[in-house]
Subunit: 577 residues, 2 copies
């Protein structure tokens, strides 16, 4: 027996087709339809027939789409999986080292099961939390995952529902927490059947993807519950420890209880029921501390948010790039501000945005913000998908790592960053609709040739080779140049994890002195001084206090009393004795 329940206020009649047979649903309150079907069993394929229109279409809450997003849904019994993590508790996000990975390119096979074989490597690296790019089903076999349409059904190409459970179970057995990336701001452009069922989308507001998700108009109660239930599913049925919420800036919600607050409340209740610590991380470029402030303080209660200001400030100082939104960054002073105060834009006028932006963070601790120098977006949205290590030399790569891993933020690495992987992370798609595929290919080409790139250098997102080129080459790990970077990352992670002063997350404990002209910066965190020379000349940097050398990116740098002589593009970490 299975009880079918679907929210379909747009429908005048609803039937469910199960294993080839049809059963009518009865209308319940507020546009819900219900039927108990005695014959329905886990593993059977099903779909809904709305207003008598055949063929049956997938369930918006389908737990499994074994034949793609346009195929029938399949019933799944979550209780059938045997878990081995009964006593598992995730370590606190506040002292985490997060590692972002994309299943399809993380290993040669590109599946969750093959990713399991890399968990030991991540553990040895010192990672505590693995964050996976979206797992929800999208149209096609390759993609970043942000075009998901069957949000309750893990992508079959990655191994489907049971593979997700095997991966999370294996990670937990190694002491690693797992974060899923979920997209609640839009549906992908093809394979989205929700519009047949109800007002999931409103045309009252425009977003980069078209109409906004309906969070505040008629029917929004049920739309919000759809997304909340999705979050609860990943945490309850797949044992994820937390979720990363894609681009919450695109939520448009004037409700007295903002959708993020509701989500945080529901996740908190589930955690209380199950006796576990769950957390939510928002991607937000609002520079608004309300996102991470506690509910009691009028905030939305996210555990943390991604903060691009630190990335942009560091990236522009390292590379000198000034294109696009990098135009609003570029000084060491801004990097110092990011380290001390999180947001660089705290209400100032931002030239690129052509408006004032942000507000001060004040009392919110640093561990409510993730800090990174690479992530899927910041690499993948570049014309060539090139990494920091492709843009600057080894010295600056090491400076970046040192700052990310000693900053007051929760550090996040992107797959391969830790050994300066040579593989790019390109924008790749596998749209099954030929017209859409061509439009995406052309759009990408036009965008970047418009910025002056040669078409010959640009990869076609729809070309499978673009996906294959983005795969990590694990053989590199053993090659000396790469191994040197890996060693540097491991030492920094070990330093961070063994020193509470580096993980206390109090942004006010981060002080940065700098010289814009001479191009140096000293970050002070507790007893540690991180001394950075961004210049391509050797420089002598005055120190505020004496310190013992803990780590050096270059053997030639020296420390004498209250000054340090640094080689070009190098970094030292000193500790007050």
């Amino acid at each position: 027996m299975h009880k079918f329940e679907v929210w379909a206020p747009f429908a005048e009649s609803v039937s469910v087709q199960v294993d080839g047979k049809r059963y009518p649903l009865q209308q319940a309150e507020r546009g819900s339809w219900i039927a108990e079907v005695e014959e329905a069993q886990p593993g059977m394929d099903y779909g809904y027939i709305l207003n008598g229109e055949e063929p049956a279409v997938p369930d918006p809450r389908s737990p499994w789409q074994p034949n793609g997003v346009n195929g029938l849904s399949r019933l799944l019994d979550h209780s059938a999986f045997e878990w081995h993590d009964k006593t598992w508790q995730s370590p606190p996000l506040a002292n985490a080292v997060v590692y972002e990975l994309h299943v399809g390119t993380f290993t040669p096979d590109g599946t969750l099961d093959s990713a399991i074989s890399k968990l030991e490597y991540l553990k040895e690296l010192g990672v505590t939390h693995v964050e996976i790019l979206p797992l929800a089903s999208f149209d096609g076999k390759r993609g970043w995952g942000y075009d998901g349409v069957a949000l309750f059904a893990p992508l079959e190409a990655y191994g489907g529902p049971d593979a997700v459970k095997r991966f999370v179970d294996a990670a937990h057995s190694k002491g690693l927490a797992v974060i899923n990336d979920v997209v609640y701001n839009h549906f992908g452009p093809t394979g989205n059947y929700t519009g047949k069922y109800g007002p999931y989308i409103t045309e009252s507001h425009k977003t980069p993807w078209g109409g906004a998700v309906n969070l505040e108009e008629e029917g929004s109660t049920d739309v919000r519950q759809f997304f909340c239930d999705n979050a609860l599913m990943w945490l309850r049925d797949y044992h994820f420890d937390g979720l990363r919420l894609d681009a919450v800036t695109a939520y448009i919600d004037r409700s007295a209880i903002h959708f993020l607050e509701q989500l945080a409340d529901e996740v908190k209740v589930l955690g209380a029921q199950l006796g576990r610590h769950f957390f939510l991380i928002a991607e937000s470029d609002l520079n608004d501390p309300r996102v991470v402030r506690a509910k009691e303080g009028g905030g939305y209660g996210m555990e943390a948010q991604w903060s691009d200001d630190f990335h942009h400030a560091l990236w522009t100082v390292l590379t000198g790039e000034q294109r696009g939104y990098y135009a609003d960054f570029g000084t060491i002073e801004q990097l110092a501000t990011a380290l001390e105060e999180v947001y660089v834009y705290q209400g100032q006028y931002a030239e690129f945005r052509k408006r004032h932006h942000g507000r001060p963070v004040h009392d919110v601790p640093g561990y409510r913000f993730l800090g990174y120098i690479q992530n899927h977006d910041q690499i993948g949205n570049r014309a060539l998908g090139d990494r920091l290590s492709d843009v600057v030399g080894k010295g600056k790569v090491k400076i970046a790592a040192a700052l990310v891993l000693t900053a007051p933020f929760v550090p996040m690495l992107f797959q391969g960053e830790e050994f300066a992987a040579s593989s790019p992370f390109l924008y790749f798609t596998d749209h099954q609709d030929p017209q859409l595929g061509e439009a995406v290919s052309k759009g990408r080409l036009q965008e970047f040739t418009g910025f002056g790139w040669s078409p010959d250098d640009l990869a076609d997102p729809q070309d499978e080779d673009t996906f294959l080129r983005s795969k990590i080459n694990w053989d590199e790990v053993k090659q000396p140049d790469h191994a040197e970077i890996l060693d540097w990352y491991k030492k920094l992670i070990a330093l961070r994890r063994s020193n509470p002063a580096l993980i206390d997350g109090d942004v006010r404990s981060a002080k940065a002195r700098f010289d814009e002209e001479a191009k140096w910066l000293v970050l002070t965190r507790g007893s540690f001084d991180i001394v950075c020379n961004f210049s391509n000349a050797a420089v002598e940097i005055p120190l505020a206090r004496v310190g013992q050398l803990v780590l050096a990116s270059e053997a030639n740098s020296t420390v004498q009393d209250k000054s340090a002589k640094l080689s070009p593009e190098s970094v030292l970490i000193l500790q007050r004795p």
Copy 2:
């Protein structure tokens, strides 16, 4: 000499035409244009010529439109007016009695100068704050004022800029504070030239009036400043004490600093500079205490908001009406909730809205909410513009007054309510564009015939008679039936103003007992019990404590020990001895 400065990022060239002569403006930063014109003097007509296109168009910040919104602007010297309110301070809004009036219908002449002659009457009534429907210039001579387009220029039909100053000065001389109603959520449909100058409006969001005001996109810094400067002008140059912000629900603003918060900040700074208490009152149906919560508590810092829940709860109990949004109200229990907790909808599902709505108020005091049984919208948006006194009998009119004037909210009356004026308040317009005028007339007709009204009963908004019929007939004040109501209001106002227990504004000090079946409610505020019989039968109401009779709407009601016998549709006010 006058320095012309105009924000016109859409323009490629800007000249100003002053007194028939042309002067070019120089481009300054961020789309601003500037010129100092030696010959320009107050009283001269001017307009801007954008991209060389004649004729000159009005200034978006025009201080004076003597020839209508499509005519030239006129230079105005605010320092020329002689004020008599140098030592004026407005009384606190927390213990105010607000009186809402519409200049055009408040007196036979319909001007600000003729309204001055009624100030003594308002003072004797016990009013402390006069709130005026919008004064900003709109197209035509008659209208409610919510279609303003020249937001810095007081409507010439009301007497123009100097008449506003004479009115405010006269009010202050009588000890009355004055509130202006400002509309920052849209511009009127005709006579709006801002679209030629810059991105005041965005099509990214839809509102009931079309695209939303641009509060968060490119150029929004200057758009927000336009509205903030407008608010500051009314307070600084016209000496208003506060502003009522129309329908803030229609602001769409994801900025870290919400427009309302910015506005409150700027108004606070001006008050500090001038040594005066200014305040902002928001019209909001968000049921979100953030609107009135202090900035320090994560709120937007409005001094108060209109709260329709109390109105709707009381109106439906009195009239039994269930049309439209009244469907979500109708029980005495909801009225009790409104009295005790401000919002009836605190997160429950609202059938009319088809979604969950609101959140609890908790710690926000009652004086942050205005309470009323009549206002321009609640009367004027009815098909016949009829008042409570046209819908129910004298007894219920008196009950309503008693509850409004003893509730924990800041009470607000609508012109004529205090003597049960027989004049309706109809929807009237004077659109100069014949097509728009016809569309408005037809739209109104269709809307209400759709609800079952006969076209013969419905007034045509464009017909001047509709406006004339809405004028207050002051002769009624002396007629016995009307004088009886006026006397009741005066007694209630006097009672409220002389008893701190009734103005302390602590919603938690309001307790309401009720019997849904027997149709009675007892509101307890400090030592007062307001005993209401909504039923058309006499009823005996048990009292929680003995009390002395303070006011009775009917002579036949009696109090004996711990019970009160009330005539049908009557109210008693008792005080614990």
